[in-house]
Homo-oligomer: 342 residues x 2
């Protein structure tokens, strides 16, 4: 067990790397705890939950909605939850995002923590204090910034993940490496098979390194006014692909990173050889390195993306692996690049 801290205006989050899900109750405060999870996680890991009350959501991306938030409010209301009740969300990104938002707003904020059960949630979704839901088919349109008290990351629970979910998490790990850790990039590049097989030592080190980079970035800029934007590498087109092509988050981000790398080469920021390393690693991890959606649908989806400010967009380029470059570019330039580079 190693511990990292995210120190941000909305609170301090302790990230517990390598802690067992069986020990979740060591990290919740004394008093009443309500677990929020989904039916799949409950079936696989329910025996590790703290004894007591439980709200079980339907599994899947469709639960990341205002309707689910209202369902959680209703259950908390019926249970008579009060401001001393602790909410422990146990699950992947959807469970953490929706439960974190419901907890942050019920009675103007209940204390809450996460046990992240997917690789994606452990390296990305659970960390950072962003929570919320989708709206009208667009990602994360509604939410708040609020740090959980802790995020517990148990490597053992990852063993039950299907291969596609593992690749999903590895995509965000590649992203973090690309913008903040050349050493992690090198390691993934040299051992992609072990990464896909979740070789314990590799995964433990890689999760820790991903979290170290992310915790530092989030701590310096929780509300994404500047430095945190680098974590959106691959996400401008990624979110659009999720919306327009129905890809899983990691797959969409992978295709988005390949696009961002090509765009970086076209702008003269990045060497073609570095772009090829990124595309090659994604390919060896079984991730798509190209966007399979009509350019016009992508452009429309990008226009609605929440990171957009007016008619310009903060786009994350790379200068080299490990060194991102955020530039505000006209939306029209991005649109042209989408048409040309896909």
């Amino acid at each position: 067990l190693t511990t990292l801290e995210v120190r941000a205006p909305s609170g301090v989050c302790r990230v517990l790397v390598g802690e067992s899900l069986d020990h979740l109750d060591r990290h919740t405060p004394p008093g009443r705890v309500i677990v929020i999870t989904d039916a799949t996680v409950d079936r696989l890991h329910g025996s590790s939950f703290p004894a007591g009350e439980k709200i079980v959501l339907a599994p899947g991306e469709a639960s990341k909605s205002l309707a689910t938030v209202e369902e959680i409010y209703g259950r908390l209301f019926e249970m008579g939850a009060d401001r001393s009740t602790f909410v422990a969300a146990v699950g992947g990104g959807v469970v953490c995002d929706v439960a974190g938002f419901a907890a942050s707003t019920y009675l103007r904020g209940l204390p809450f923590g996460f046990a992240a059960t997917t690789l994606l949630a452990q390296v990305d979704a659970g960390i950072g204090g962003k929570n919320g839901v989708d709206f009208r088919g667009y990602k994360n349109m509604v939410g708040v910034f609020q740090q959980p008290r802790f995020v517990l990351c148990d490597p053992d629970v990852l063993r039950t993940l299907p291969p596609r979910e593992i690749a999903n998490g590895l995509a965000e790990m590649v992203k973090t490496a690309a913008v903040g850790s050349p050493a992690l990039f090198d390691e993934l590049e040299s051992r992609p098979g072990q990464a896909l097989a979740l070789e314990p030592d590799l995964i433990r080190r890689a999760v820790h390194e991903s979290l170290r980079v992310k915790a530092a970035v989030v701590g310096s800029d929780e509300r994404e006014a500047g430095p945190r934007r680098v974590l959106n590498f691959g996400h401008t087109l990624g979110h659009a692909l999720e919306a327009a092509a129905g890809l899983a988050h990691g797959e969409a981000v992978a295709a988005g990173m390949a696009f961002a790398a090509s765009f970086s080469v076209r702008k003269g920021f990045l060497a073609a050889r570095e772009r090829d390393r990124i595309a090659g690693l994604l390919d060896r991890l079984g991730l798509p390195a190209a966007a399979a959606a009509p350019a016009v649908a992508l452009v429309d989806a990008v226009r609605k993306d929440k990171k957009r400010g007016g008619e310009a967009v903060h786009f994350v380029f790379l200068e080299t692996i490990g060194r991102p470059l955020v530039r505000e570019i006209p939306l029209a330039e991005l649109e042209t690049a989408i048409h040309d580079l896909r």
Copy 2:
């Protein structure tokens, strides 16, 4: 125009006392502004709004709901609002509460400010960074703490208020006086008729003094972990009366204050003479000093009230006018007092 500042963890709010609604656009940042209001305020004061886009809600307490929040999200989505869009809520407590919550959560937070058009919103609801909506008939069950950038208080717009709305606002003014300003209490006591008639000099001074007290309390304890609880004087039973008897907020708080004063006397904290001063002032302001609801319904509503923590409740007593005393008492003791004192 005088300015007060509320400095709290979620941000700094400038309170503009005596500023004209016509000057709202002097306080919004450059760039796009969307006004959120209700149909009544739009009819009475729409000509004073900044030119541009507008979301007009149905007037009344029923709009303080998750359905209205979702309606606002939908309109912001259709308008293509982004993080640089400023939301200016113009209206009473309901408009400010619901628009503040929608703005605080859309895209994880748009910048927003208020122009408070009722006496209640000017002295209480608009100030303090609490926003949110009712849920299943209970007050403020869902929301966040987030300071608006400013609250503009124009005395001239109060002239269009119906008498019941004026009494509503005066009730919160009496509350603030009772817990933090004996001088304001004396002034209201000596000139209740002028207060009801909104005599300009009196109202300007009284609004300013109410806001001064509230800004200091909120600045010291935004999330109501301690000192801010004094502002709930009269509200434990008040919220229950709103839910169970359908009283207006100010009327319910008035009856709640009379109850809290009697309870304080019964506990030996407050002299009977002081309680009589409070009941007498409420009466001269046309406010109810007794609760017109079955005790059993009140007890049930109190049990659901969000300020409750476990089986105890933080109840705000008075030692004298201007000196509150917060004590955690068993819910059972409060229930007995409700049965005995009504």
